[in-house]
Amino acid sequence: MLDNLQLLFSYPVLGADLIANGLMIGSIFALAAFGMALVWGVLGIINIAQGEFVMLGGFVALTAAEFGVPPLATIPIAAAGLFVIGWGLYRLVIFRIVDRDLFVSLLATFGLSIVLQQLSNEVFGADVQTLETGLGTLYLLDGQIVLPEIKLVAFGTALIVGLLLWAFLKRARLGQAIRATAQNARAARILGIDTDRVYAATFALNAALCGAAGSLVVMAWTIHPYIGLPYTVRSFLVVVVAGLGNIIAVIAAGLGLGALENLAGFILGTEYQIAFVFVAMVVILVVRNWVLRRKREYLK
């Protein structure tokens, strides 16, 4: 650990490189976390199958590429494909667990994640897959920071999608209906909103966001049927830190998590990278609780 720190001090640009690469993967976490925050906030469901949606998005992108679609064009296709899958899953499973005990929804989505894993294993095989984009590499600071362009694409896509989502929720009719349902489903229903449709749309939108994330993962990293869990855990963590109602906070938390994780992996050693993520989560929860309590006392 000490020699790693020493290394970081003797090559300060290394830190910049690590943070830059961390921000890139953090943007993927943010993308998956948007969806999780939506589903959690609107349907009251913590979706354990979040990472499996990311994985499926990757496989949809791969399949599209096999049919001759250029790699970058597979991003919207994966999103659209997952939108349909998400809608179907809502009609099949999820509508049964809206408004039910949290435990029931955890169990149901956990089951869903296993089914999706095994199905993709059957359909796509257990092999590690990846999609070549043919994009190059960007050198910054005299070649001391090296950024694959596909990661920049991922980063840009996550930011743009975040902004679009924000605008959609603020301005679009369905977006407003989603917010209304999240605030008070009963009142929304009384005012004529078809909450069941809103739920379905929200869940499908979540799947679409994950699908886009998955297509980026398969181009910048690798996927296989069992890669879901890290993405579920990270998006959960991001949402816990950022809260449910704030897209800018989700982006910030996602990027921050990615950068911190990468730095921690470097300094503590990669074997502690995930341990660090969980310790960070506990610390943040404790601090948040403490800050909130102080605020309450102040209000009194």
Binding site: L7, N21, E122, Y139, N262
Partner: protein, 412 residues
């Protein structure tokens, strides 16, 4: 009500007795019906090992087919055909252990072919040991399997610590003297890769090399950026990565995308990760550990040469055989040879015959040590050269000279 309950209890006791007697009887005699000898195998046909499970099964099937086509095995003057009872272990050790019990207890199998992976082999080994049922396995390489003193476990493949020792030797050989060479390790934190690491470190020290990076990668590995950042500034002479197929795929992808220059890169599971098909030129110069290669000069009367086996396999299944299939076929040959030498299907006699095995196969020589490991066959190293795997080490099997150093990305 209480009468029904008593009746049920009696019925239960009777069933238990029958099961016990049946288990005893079926255990005493090998599963031999007419002229068929049944071997048992629990294989990962579904779950995360399903690709390699299929390679394993095809290797077994091809050997059985060949042996039966050649007339079967001759035991005590009588000819027998071989057959395998398969179950799907779903890639989970707990299921593998259950199925071992099932094969032995219910199906009465007295000879078992191994599952895929060290983890599943480890789950099944105590059970075959408990019942005294010989198991010849071809896909559990972890050295720890052979430190438990098992008497009924035999492995035809080289153990894990040998996987990348060739890379260290090759680095030393190329430099003329290994003294002072700097080695970087990125090994998944699982039993397999940690065994590989132990072997590499021992050999590196033996050659006077220095280990400058020693990262343990998390099992749900999805990014190598932190390790590669270190590699970029410390510039090791040799980078060794082991993390199953996903480790190999990530390493090739991120080293190429990040333009990380290393003179020598050695990996495991390159063929499983299909690095040539998937990454093309980016995979050039990578060194890969392999148990076997179709270009090796071994041969036997059943399959002919290693390349004959490769041709037959490709004709039958439509793809070139990965080493997992070759070693699985060899495991069946070992059983057939032991039956013939034992002259009986008595489990103890077959076990003794197995431990005295000294057999030349298309896969290499097979000779078990006390612990049941095959100590007669070396690992080989491939290098990706012009879009093909070419054996470059050990020297006696080399198909092509080793290309070193890997040119810098800027010059490629």
């Amino acid at each position: 009500m209480s009468r029904v309950r008593t009746l049920l209890r009696h019925a239960g006791a009777v069933f238990a007795c029958i099961a016990l007697v049946w288990a005893f009887v079926s255990q005493a005699h090998a599963k031999v019906e007419n002229d068929m000898v049944y071997l048992g195998a629990a294989i990962s046909l579904t779950g995360k090992y399903s690709t390699n499970g299929a390679h394993t099964q095809r290797g077994y099937d091809l050997a059985i087919e060949r042996i039966n086509a050649e007339g079967g095995v001759i035991v005590d003057g009588k000819t027998y055909k071989l057959a395998i009872i398969y179950y799907d272990d779903e890639s989970t050790p707990a299921r593998g252990a259950q199925l071992a019990e099932r094969l032995i207890q219910q199906d009465g199998v007295t000879f078992i072919l191994g599952p895929y992976s060290s983890g599943l082999t480890r789950a099944m080994a105590p059970i075959i040991e408990k019942y005294g049922i010989p198991m010849v396995e071809a896909n559990g390489a972890s050295i720890s399997l052979f430190e438990e003193g098992y008497k009924y476990l035999f492995a035809v493949l080289s153990t894990t610590e040998q996987y990348l020792q060739g890379a260290v030797a090759l680095a030393a050989q190329t430099a003329g003297d290994g003294e002072g060479l700097r080695v970087a390790l990125a090994m998944e934190n699982d039993p397999f890769s940690q065994d590989v690491r132990t072997g590499v470190i021992a050999d590196a020290e033996h050659h006077g090399m220095r280990v400058i990076i020693d990262d343990k990668l998390p099992p749900d590995l999805s990014d190598l950026a932190a390790t590669l950042a270190k590699v970029r500034v410390l510039k090791p002479d040799l980078l060794v990565v082991s993390g199953h197929a996903k480790g190999a795929a990530l390493a090739i992808r991120q080293i190429a995308d990040g333009r990380v220059d290393v003179p020598m890169l050695a990996l495991t599971h390159c063929d499983a990760a299909q690095i040539i098909e998937k990454f093309g030129e980016k995979a050039e110069y990578a060194l890969c550990a392999s148990q076997w290669a179709p270009g090796l000069s071994y041969s036997d009367p059943l399959f002919g040469s290693a390349s004959d086996f490769a041709t037959l396999f490709e004709e039958t299944y439509g793809y070139a055989p990965p080493y997992q299939a070759a070693e699985s076929a060899a495991a069946v040959m070992v059983f057939a040879d032991a039956f013939e030498r034992a002259g009986t299907f008595d489990t103890l006699a077959v076990r003794d015959a197995l431990s005295a095995t000294d057999l030349m196969t298309f896969y290499g020589r097979i000779d078990f040590d006390e612990a049941g490991r095959n100590i007669a066959k070396p690992m080989v190293l491939y290098q990706v050269q012009d879009g093909k795997f070419r054996v470059v080490y050990p020297a006696e099997f080399a198909e092509a000279p080793f290309r070193h150093p890997t040119p810098r990305w800027a010059d490629r």
